[in-house]
C-alpha cells in the first residue's frame, strides 16, 4: 500500500507543477463549456423548455460537470503506456516489485485527483456563477456521486489501458486511440445526454461500459436521479470495473508473454 500511496502522491505533486498547462486547460474547458451549454440551451428552448427530462438548469449542470470530468477522466486518451511498450521501456515497469496495473492505477489516481481539483473545479465554479447549477437535494447524492466518480475514473483508466496494451501486438496504436476516444465521447454521454439518443443507439450505449464513465457520475452528482435510482447504476459500474480489470489483466499477461523487448 505505501508503494501505491507514494506513487499517487508523487504523481499529484508532479502535475501540480504544470501551472501553464493547468491554466490553459481551465481556459479551454470553460470556453467549450459555454459553447456546449448554449447549443443545449437552444435545443431545449426550441423543444419548449424541456428535452427528454432535461430543463435548462439541468442541462447547465450536465455540461459543467461534464467539463469538470473531462480532465480527470482523460477522455481524449493517453499514450504513455503504448509508447513505453514500443520503445521497450515497459521492461523497466515490469522489473518493479509491484503490480504493473497497480502502479499505473496509482499514478492515474494521483493525476486525476490533481486534474479534478486544478482543472475540473474552476470551470464548475465559473459555470455555477454564470449559468447556475441544479444541485441535488439529498446529501446522499454527493456520497454516491463520489463513489460513482471513482468508479468512472477507474473504468476510463482500464479501458484506456487496454487500448494502450494493444501496442504489444500493433506497431501503431494511434488509430485505435482515435476510434476509441470518438466512440467513448459519444456513447459515454459526454457530447449529449444518452437519453437524447435514438432508441437503437441508447440500446447500444447501455450494452457498453461507456455510460458508466460519464453519464452515471454526472446523473448521480447532479441529483438528476435520486440516490435510490443511482444505486443500481453504481452496481453496473462495479460490474464493469470487474470485467475490464480482468480483461486488462489478461491482456497484460498475454502481452508480456509475447513481448519482444525492443532495444538494448
Amino acid at each position: 500500500m505505501p508503494t501505491y500511496w507514494s506513487i499517487a502522491s508523487a504523481s499529484f505533486r508532479q502535475y501540480s507543477t504544470y501551472r501553464m498547462a493547468t491554466a490553459a486547460g481551465v481556459f479551454t474547458n470553460t470556453i467549450f463549456g459555454f459553447i456546449r451549454a448554449s447549443i443545449l440551451f437552444a435545443a431545449i428552448t426550441t423543444a419548449g423548455g424541456e428535452l427528454s427530462g432535461y430543463t435548462i438548469a439541468q442541462a447547465a449542470t450536465y455540461v459543467w460537470l461534464g467539463q469538470a470530468l473531462l480532465a480527470p477522466i482523460e477522455a481524449f486518451g493517453t499514450r504513455e503506456v503504448s509508447q513505453r511498450v514500443h520503445q521497450g521501456e515497459v521492461a523497466v515497469d515490469l522489473l518493479r516489485p509491484a503490480s504493473f496495473l497497480g502502479l499505473y492505477y496509482a499514478q492515474k489516481l494521483g493525476r486525476s485527483a490533481f486534474l479534478l481539483l486544478g482543472r475540473g473545479i474552476p470551470p464548475l465554479v465559473i459555470g455555477a456563477l454564470v449559468t447556475g447549477l441544479a444541485l441535488p437535494e439529498d446529501p446522499l447524492s454527493y456520497l454516491l456521486g463520489a463513489f460513482s466518480l471513482l468508479a468512472a475514473i477507474t473504468l476510463a483508466f482500464l479501458a484506456d489501458m487496454m487500448v494502450n496494451l494493444a501496442a504489444f501486438w500493433l506497431i501503431e496504436t494511434r488509430g485505435l486511440t482515435v476510434v476509441y476516444t470518438a466512440v467513448m465521447n459519444l456513447l459515454s454521454g459526454f457530447l449529449i445526454p444518452i437519453l437524447w439518443f435514438p432508441d437503437w443507439l441508447l440500446g447500444i450505449a447501455r450494452a457498453t461500459p461507456f455510460p458508466s464513465m460519464i453519464q452515471t457520475p454526472i446523473d448521480t452528482l447532479s441529483g438528476r436521479i435520486t440516490p435510490l435510482e443511482a444505486l443500481p447504476l453504481l452496481g453496473v459500474q462495479a460490474g464493469w470495473v470487474l470485467v475490464l480489470a480482468v480483461a486488462a489483466h489478461l491482456m497484460l499477461r498475454l502481452g508480456v508473454r509475447s513481448m519482444e523487448v525492443q532495444g538494448g
Partner: protein, 344 residues
Amino acid sequence: MNTPQQITPDQHAPEPSEPLEPALELSGLRRDYVVRAPVPGSRRRRRQVVRAVDDISLSIRPGEAVGFVGANGAGKSTTIKMMTGILTPTGGSLRVLGREPVAERKQLAREIGVVFGQRSQLWWDLPLRDSYTILGAMHRLTDRQRDARLERLVDGLDLGAFLGRPVRQLSLGQRMRGEVAAALLHSPQLVVLDEPTIGLDMVSKEGLRRFLREDRAERGTTLFLTTHDMNDVERLCDRIVVVNSGTVAYDGPLDSFRAHLGAPRELVVDLAEPAAALSLPGSAETAAVEADGIRHRIRFSGAELTVPALLSAIGAQVEVRDLSLTEPAIEDLVREIYGRSGLA
C-alpha cells in the same frame, strides 16, 4: 552494516561440504526473434528467425563478478532480459537465485538490482530523491533502513549535489549514478548491469567503478555486467565471458584471459628527438617505430604494468612530446579469441 540483505536460508548457513547453489544457472539457453524482413521488389514481408542467443550455458557462484562482453548484437541484452524474467526463452532453462525468472518475476525483482544503461528506472519529472522514496516503499524498506542505505549511496556515488533536482535535468553521468543507486537501494544479492558506463566520461566511469567495488566488497554481492569498456571488466570482474553471435566464445578467470591474449593495450608516444628502440620494462614491447623514429607504438598488458610506470621508464630515456593510449576494442578481443581458437 544494518542493511536488509535478503539471504535465503540455505545460503545463510551453508554446510561446509555442501556446495552453494549457483546464483545464476543457464543451461542451453536459446532465444529466437521473429522478424519480418521486406522482400526486395515485393510488398510481402518474409518471416525470418534471428537466433539472438544460441545455446548459452553458464554457472555463476554467489559472490562472483562476471563481465559479459561481446560485440554489438552478440546477444548480451537478450540474455539479461531472460535472466530478469521479462523475456521468455525459446529453449533451454535458467534459474536465478534459485528462481524461475519469468514465473517469479516480481519476487525476483525484490532480490536483484538491475540497470539497463539505455533506460531509466527513475521518475523523470520528480526530484531524484523522490525516486528513492518510492523505491524504498516498493521494496518494503522501513524509513530507517532506507535512509541508512541511501546515506551510504549518496556518499559513495556523490549524489548529494543533485538529489533535489528533477531527473530530467541531470547530466548523463549524474543520472547513471542515480540509476545505480536505485538498483542498489534494497541491497540486492545479485546486481545485473547492462552497459552501465555507456556514454560516460572517464571521471564518471571511474567514480562508478570505485563505488561498485566498495559495495561488493562490503556486501559480497554477485555481479553480472555487460560493457563495451574493457576497463570496466578489468576493474570490476574476476571472470570474463565472451559471447559472439549468441554463443560463449570464452569463459574463464580474467587472469587467464589476459594471458590468453597477451598484450592488448597500446601506448603511442611521439618523441621530441628521433630514437631507435627503447628499452622497456616487463612484457612491454615495441610494436612499431614510425616517422623516422619519432613515433613509437608500444604494446603492453594493463595487468602487469601501469601507464605511469611505463611512462616514467620511457621518460628516463627520451623526452616525450605527445602520447595517446588505445584500449583494445571488445570487437578486437573477440576476433583474437576466435583467431586463436581457430574458429575465425
